[in-house]
């Protein structure tokens, strides 16, 4: 059996890929050079659009389409790399930043060329303090080596990259909250429209792309859209890094084609459930997931954007949390709600108040202090939040609650009695 050819986690096959000379030996910056010297910006956008690359941060929006929204009448344009990875269960961008940082930077540079941005920011969560230190060194090396600066490859294109550290706020992963934070304000989402494509960083047209999304770009430019589409499914092309965690023998990141089944990820790659226990449920998108009961049919579901929507859940950033039969789902729902209550930015009332009350009610349930009416009250609060929050944080906070009540209601009563 030939070894799997990694596209994103290439550092697992190539030692020291985080060193510039090693990255260059393995074809590094060929794609960026090709884009700048042989392609028009519009051709880069077309190639990425044809590849069908979809945003890997969670929303799954087509990257090339997002780029094409920037008006060529308003300047300057900015590109912001979203490295604020904070969804419980997600640790993929961290591995790219640590192991394969130049591929991420090259992707960012290609994105900048595509939308003709001369300045890019990498917004890292504050906890990635060490990763930021390393990234700054690498950006310095790229400036020294002439891959960043003025007149790149003898062209008129100039590019500089800066980094900006967040300081512990999950909401800053939401792109408009991220931009507010980068402007020195509270990380609270903006009302949209206008979208960042027309009114983004400093009020200028801006693209915000996730680290993993950007790391896909050198491959697309070097090998083309057809090559990219030879992986994954028709509507969800390419490979994806699945962050596997929870009650599983081998948690970790797994780079697999989109459309791989849960069963293959959890049992073949992840080594199954510890201590001979049975799998009970799956949260495919971290704490933001609608919980999927782990039926045989669910385990055979391909992990791609459409198939998970058909299961009334979502792929999100593909952070697969595995739950075994020892876990009480009322406790699990309380954990997720506690997270969202802590991370709610407080700007909109449904989320601020809703997450607060859901946390109170689930706490009572878990601590055996609830009345039978509290289960219905929880359902009522969650249902009333639906569709009324300013951003996805509030909308996601009710996913585990409603799906937990739908599929595992007896756990809530069991927890009450105990």
């Amino acid at each position: 059996m030939s070894a799997y050819a990694y596209q994103l986690l290439r550092h697992r096959a190539i030692p020291n890929l985080d060193r510039l000379e090693v990255y260059l030996e393995h074809g590094g910056f060929k794609a960026f050079r090709k884009a700048v010297t042989e392609m028009k910006p519009a051709e880069v956008i077309t190639e990425v659009r044809n590849a069908g690359l979809r945003g890997r941060g969670g929303a799954g929006f087509p990257t090339g389409v997002k780029w094409s929204f920037l008006p060529n009448t308003l300047w300057p344009h900015y590109v912001v790399a979203n490295a604020d990875e904070s969804e419980p269960g997600t640790f993929k961008d961290r591995e790219i930043l640590e192991g394969n940082p130049f591929q991420f930077l090259e992707g960012l540079m290609i994105a900048c060329y595509a939308v003709q941005a001369n300045l890019a920011y990498v917004y890292l969560r504050g906890e990635y303090w060490q990763q930021n230190q390393e990234l700054l060194k690498r950006i310095g090396e790229l400036e020294q080596a002439g891959y960043l600066g003025d007149h790149l490859f003898g062209s008129d294109f100039a590019l500089r990259i800066r980094t900006h550290l967040g300081a512990g706020a999950y909401i800053c992963g939401e792109e408009t909250a991220l931009l507010e934070s980068l402007e020195g304000r509270l990380g609270q989402p903006r009302l949209r429209p206008p979208f960042p494509a027309t009114y983004g960083l400093f009020g200028k047209p801006t693209v915000v792309n996730n680290v993993e999304t950007l790391a896909n770009l050198p491959g697309i430019i070097e090998h083309g859209a057809v090559w990219f589409r030879s992986f994954g499914t028709d509507k969800s092309p390419g490979v994806k890094i699945f962050s596997l965690s929870g009650r599983v023998n081998r948690p970790g990141n797994y780079e697999l084609p989109l459309g791989t089944t849960f069963r293959e990820l959890i049992f073949n790659h992840g080594g199954g459930i510890p201590d001979g226990r049975t799998i009970k449920a799956i949260l495919p998108a971290g704490a933001s997931s609608a919980i999927i009961p782990a039926t045989e049919k669910a385990l055979d579901t391909p992990m791609d954007y459409e198939s998970l929507m058909a299961l009334n859940s979502a792929l999100g950033s593909a952070s697969v949390i595995v739950v075994d039969d020892t876990v009480n789902m009322a406790w699990l729902v309380h954990k997720t709600v506690h997270f969202f209550k802590h991370e709610s930015c407080g700007k909109c009332t449904p989320c601020r108040e809703g997450t607060y009350w859901m946390e109170q009610i689930t706490r009572r349930i878990v601590h055996g202090e609830a009345s039978e009416n509290d289960v219905e009250l929880l359902n009522s609060v969650a249902s009333q939040m639906q569709g009324k929050c300013l951003c996805a944080l509030g909308e996601f906070s009710i996913m585990a609650v409603l799906s937990g009540l739908q599929h595992f209601k007896s756990d809530f009563f069991a927890s009450m009695r105990s």
Partner: protein
């Protein structure tokens, strides 16, 4: 006189240069990190000094400190041990780990050891879910991750921090 500015003139210039000249406000978080590295938290004088540098009110700077969890407005232990107990970590025993760690240090969650060395805090996801129990240590020099932890390894680290702190000549004059 603006002490922060006079003590870190070059560094502050470098920070401001990262942003367009008319967008100085963007520097508020890097400036808070710079100031916090001096004494571990942000005091009122710093709010005023940062406000002066970027042209916003001290109240606005204070709102940033209040919003973001990595900034502090009061002193804690010299080292903050921040244990993640979010769902994926909890499924790998992080809640019991936190409880035992605090019991071993004879403090409550959020408390500081009697010698002022260590504060233990419960935090949300740190992107180390696959290597739980895990925590980060925040001190004046930055942040470091400690993963696949046991009570034994965590207590050994506390001992190491204690020794580092007590080494003659290494102690800061405050």
């Amino acid at each position: 006189m603006n002490q922060l500015l006079s003590q870190h003139t070059e560094e502050i210039k470098r920070i401001l240069d990262n942003y367009p000249a008319n967008q100085k406000r963007s520097a508020v978080m890097p400036l808070l990190y710079l100031a916090q590295a001096q004494r571990g938290y942000i005091n009122k004088q710093t709010l005023t000094e940062i406000g002066e540098i970027i042209g916003i009110s001290p109240t606005e700077v204070a709102s940033i400190v209040g919003f973001y969890t990595l900034f502090y407005d009061e002193a804690g232990g010299r080292y903050r041990i921040q244990v993640c107990t979010d769902l994926p970590c909890a499924l790998r025993g992080a809640e019991e780990f936190l409880e035992k760690l605090c019991a071993n240090l004879n403090i409550k969650v959020g408390g500081t050891t009697a010698d002022g060395l260590v504060t233990v805090e419960e935090v949300t996801c740190l992107a180390g879910c696959h290597r739980a129990p895990m925590f980060q240590v925040q001190d004046e020099h930055g942040l470091s991750y400690h993963e696949n932890q046991t009570i034994e390894s965590a207590m050994a680290l506390v001992e190491e921090l204690r020794n580092r702190h007590l080494q003659p000549g290494k102690e800061d004059a405050e």
